[in-house]
Amino acid sequence: MFQSGSILKSIGLGRSFQQLSIRSFSTSSPILAGRPAPLRKSLRYLRANRRKETNILKQRKLEAKKNELDPVLGKKNNAFLTRLEAEVQEPNVLTRGYEKSEVEKLLYGAQEASIKESFASDSVRQSAIKQREAVFRILNMRNRSSAESLKFKTDLARKEFQRFDGDTGSSEVQAAIATVKIHHLFKHVVENFKDFKNIRYMRMLVQQRQKILRYLKKDDPEKYYWTLNKLGLNDHVVHMEFNMDKRYMQEFKWFGDKVLVRDSQKQKEIKRKEKRLEKKAIRQMRAAKQDPTARRF
């Protein structure tokens, strides 16, 4: 197989060289009469090669810039998500949809009712204080499981993204909830890197979110871009082919500098070559900047 490929290549090259020589013979000489003499063939080749290398470098830079954003977590320090996290950690937040003011009203009502019944107001008030403290400790978000805090966060996210009251199904709500879940799972996965079940679930969530957002772009582009900006994502992240694999985790340093995927000898060689090329191109560009008038190849 390799042999046939190389033969084909050589044939192709040969043909192009022939064509070049014929053309230069017939047409170029009268036109170029007044210009300086053309460079030698070998020099021309070197020059073209240099141009190619700088172009490759440029393309690589563009590609790297495109892939800067984390396709799972999005922009760092996203305002919406940090606010959600802060909301959960507030001291007076209660679980199961209870509002602090409502619970207090209820407790006050119960206290007054029992005072009316028993005529011993002081003892009732004393025990009511203890009761109140117990109720608030039980209901406080700080003493509850992480599942309940996730529920609280998803509920807040839903309320911010909903199109009308009680909307749970529109695309932006689904995407927002998926994002909240992803960020919640991320903390767990980083601490428990052997929890493959949850890593898989997270991967599915990321891809599901991509799908939903792709649909939203078709359905309502304005909402789509609003959602993206709110969740700290971008268009490229939604439309790229992405699998949340170990290489990605290594690249974005989920577990610090831990090596998750070892490169083969061949891949190492390729990377070394790329690095060398990059260095060379940078050197050449620097030289061109220092002395732009000199004719280089």
Binding site: R83, N92, Y225, L228, N229
Partner: protein, 244 residues
């Protein structure tokens, strides 16, 4: 590649194997002299001279500037989201400040209500009185215990409905009596009709009745308006008197 864009052309073609039409696509490199096309636009392309190895078409027109729209949507959304987020974080910080203050002072709705309750019973110091009035403003409490139905029962609404109906029946009866009087008093009726520019002799009996009914209704409305405005004036006068 500057001045070059990739254009995807979709074509239908009949597939013999699956026995139906399927979409086939081909990508063209296309010349874009003004660099006007954006990713996502719908364009028409035309053949031109061979520009490079893979370029033989150029953009003739942009049918739908969807790509441009996407870019502008993105810009708008970015500005909007920043504005919204700033507002929401400000709200959140205000709330947080409130709660920290509550925790520091060890106050809650219950302690506040207990203080208000205490104020109705006995002697309070001056500071406490000021505080009670502040708390009443805060929660919108006018009297203690607040006179408000904890639960609205159906029987209450039914009773109110009955009251409304009896009122309207009484009003109707009064109106009917008035109309009867006006119809019986021929001189007065004639006077009103001539004032309105009607020919009294040619009017039929039921037309006469209808016109007079309408007249009475309008008259009543005006009267009620006058009465209400008069009452308002009276009230404002009373308030002024009180101030003096």
């Amino acid at each position: 590649m500057s001045k070059t864009v990739k254009v995807r052309v979709l074509r239908k073609s009949f597939d013999k194997v699956v026995n139906k039409e399927i979409m086939k696509r081909k990508d063209f490199l296309v010349h874009d002299e003004g660099e006007v096309a954006r990713e996502g636009d719908l364009v028409r392309i035309e053949q031109c001279r061979k520009i490079s190895k893979r370029k033989a078409f150029s953009i003739a027109e942009i049918r739908k500037n969807k790509g441009q729209q996407f870019l502008s949507h993105n810009e708008d959304a970015r500005a909007r989201v920043i504005k919204e987020e700033n507002e929401k974080t400000r709200e959140f910080l205000a709330r947080r400040k409130n709660t920290t203050e509550e925790i520091r002072n060890n106050t809650s709705l219950i302690t506040d209500l207990m203080l208000i309750e205490k104020s109705t019973k006995g002697n309070l110091s001056k500071e406490q009185k000021v505080k009670v009035s502040q708390l009443k403003d805060k929660y919108g409490i006018k009297d203690w215990p607040p006179q408000k139905d904890a639960l609205r029962l159906q029987i209450q609404s039914l009773r109110e409905e009955i009251d409304d109906l009896t009122n309207s029946v009484a009003n109707q009866e009064v109106f009917v009596r008035k109309l009867q009087n006006l119809l019986e008093d021929k001189e007065k009726g004639d006077e009103i009709l001539t004032k309105m520019g009607k020919n009294v002799e040619t009017l039929k009996k039921h037309t006469r009745k209808n016109i007079l009914r309408k007249y009475l209704l309008e008259n009543e409305q005006e009267e009620s308006k006058k009465l209400s405005s008069f009452l308002d004036q009276d009230l404002s006068k009373q308030v002024e008197d009180l101030k003096i």
